[in-house]
C-alpha cells in the first residue's frame, strides 16, 4: 500500500465530495458525486477489496449516479438557484467532523499499519455468501424486489 497513491486518491475523493456538497449547479454536483465514488472505489482497490470496489463502481456509478442525472433532467424546470447558505448545517457538519477526528486521534490502538493478509478472492466471497450469509442474501433479494415494485408504484401515473 503506497502512500503516494493514497494521498492522490484522498485529494481527488475529498475535493470531489466537497464540490458535490457545495456546488450550486445540480448537474455539476451530481457529476462530482460520481467522481467522489470513483475515489472511494479506488480506496477499496488500495485496501485489497477489489471485488467490492468493482461492485461499488457498477452499482453506484452505473446505476445510482445515472438515476440521479435522469431525475435532475426530469425535474429540470425547477433547477433554480439553491442559495441562502444554511450556516446551521455547515456548523453542525464541522462539529461532527471535529468530534470524529478527536475520537480517531485520541484512540491509540488504531495507529497501526496494515498486516499481511491472504488475498481476498471472489471464490472466498462467493463461498461465504452461499454458506454463512445465505439468509441475509435472500433478505437483500427480497428487499430489492420490494424496492423495485415500490419505486414503480410511486412513479405510476394516477388514474383520474
Amino acid at each position: 500500500m503506497s502512500s503516494a497513491a493514497f494521498v492522490l486518491i484522498a485529494i481527488l475523493t475529498l475535493a470531489a465530495a466537497l464540490a458535490a456538497a457545495t456546488l450550486q449547479n445540480l448537474m455539476h454536483a451530481a457529476l462530482s458525486f460520481a467522481v467522489a465514488l470513483v475515489g472511494v472505489a479506488a480506496f477499496f482497490f488500495l485496501l485489497g477489496a477489489e471485488f467490492v470496489g468493482l461492485v461499488l463502481v457498477f452499482v453506484y456509478i452505473g446505476a445510482v449516479a445515472v438515476l440521479i442525472v435522469f431525475t435532475i433532467l426530469l425535474t429540470r424546470r425547477d433547477v433554480g438557484n439553491d442559495r441562502g447558505a444554511n450556516w446551521g448545517g455547515a456548523f453542525l457538519a464541522v462539529a461532527v467532523f471535529g468530534g470524529l477526528a478527536w475520537a480517531v486521534f485520541k484512540t491509540q490502538s488504531i495507529a497501526i499499519g496494515a498486516p499481511h493478509i491472504r488475498t481476498l478472492t471472489v471464490k472466498r466471497i462467493g463461498e461465504a455468501l452461499m454458506t454463512s450469509y445465505v439468509w441475509p442474501l435472500q433478505c437483500v433479494g427480497l428487499l430489492l424486489t420490494a424496492a423495485l415494485i415500490g419505486a414503480l408504484v410511486l412513479v405510476m401515473e394516477e388514474k383520474r
Binding site: S2, S3, F6, A10, T13, L14, A17, A20, A21, F33, A36, L37, V40, F43, L47, A49, F51, V52, L56, V59, Y60, A63, V64, L67, I68, T71, L74, T75, D78, G80, D82, A85, N86, G88, G89, A90, L92, A93, V94, F97, L100, V104, I110, A111, I112, G113, A114, P115, L120, I125, A128, L129, Y133, V140, L143, L144, A147, A151, L152, L154
Partner: protein
C-alpha cells in the same frame, strides 16, 4: 511510511461530514439524497478499512457487510428518487422548503 488505519478513518470522517453538509444545508431533495449516499459510502469505507487492518476471520465480515450495505443503498436511492419525481408531479418543485402541507 504506509498509511495507517487512522488516516483512512480521517478521510472517511471528512467524506461523512461533506455528506452531512449536503444533506443539511441544501434545499433540493436530490442534493439531500446525494448527501445521504455520500454518508453511506463513508460508512462502507470504514467497514473495509477495519476489515483490512483488523484480525482476519474466515468469512471476511467487513467485506460482506459492505456488499450488503451497497445493495441496500441502491434500493434506497431508487425509492428516494421515485419519491422526488412523485413529489415534483404534485408540487412542481423539489425544494424541500416549499413542501409544507400534508394535503397534496
Amino acid at each position: 511510511m504506509t498509511p495507517t488505519l487512522q488516516v483512512f478513518l480521517i478521510v472517511s470522517a471528512v467524506l461523512f461530514s461533506a455528506g452531512l453538509l449536503a444533506a443539511l444545508s441544501r434545499r433540493h431533495a436530490i442534493f439531500i439524497l446525494i448527501g445521504i449516499e455520500m454518508m453511506l459510502a463513508a460508512a462502507n469505507l470504514n467497514f473495509i478499512a477495519f476489515w483490512r487492518f483488523g484480525p482476519q476471520s474466515q468469512p471476511p465480515t467487513g467485506v460482506m457487510i459492505a456488499i450488503f450495505s451497497i445493495a441496500i443503498a441502491a434500493a434506497e436511492a431508487a425509492v428516494g428518487l421515485a419519491l422526488v419525481i412523485s413529489v415534483y408531479r404534485h408540487y412542481h418543485t423539489t425544494n424541500v422548503d416549499h413542501l409544507d402541507q400534508l394535503k397534496g
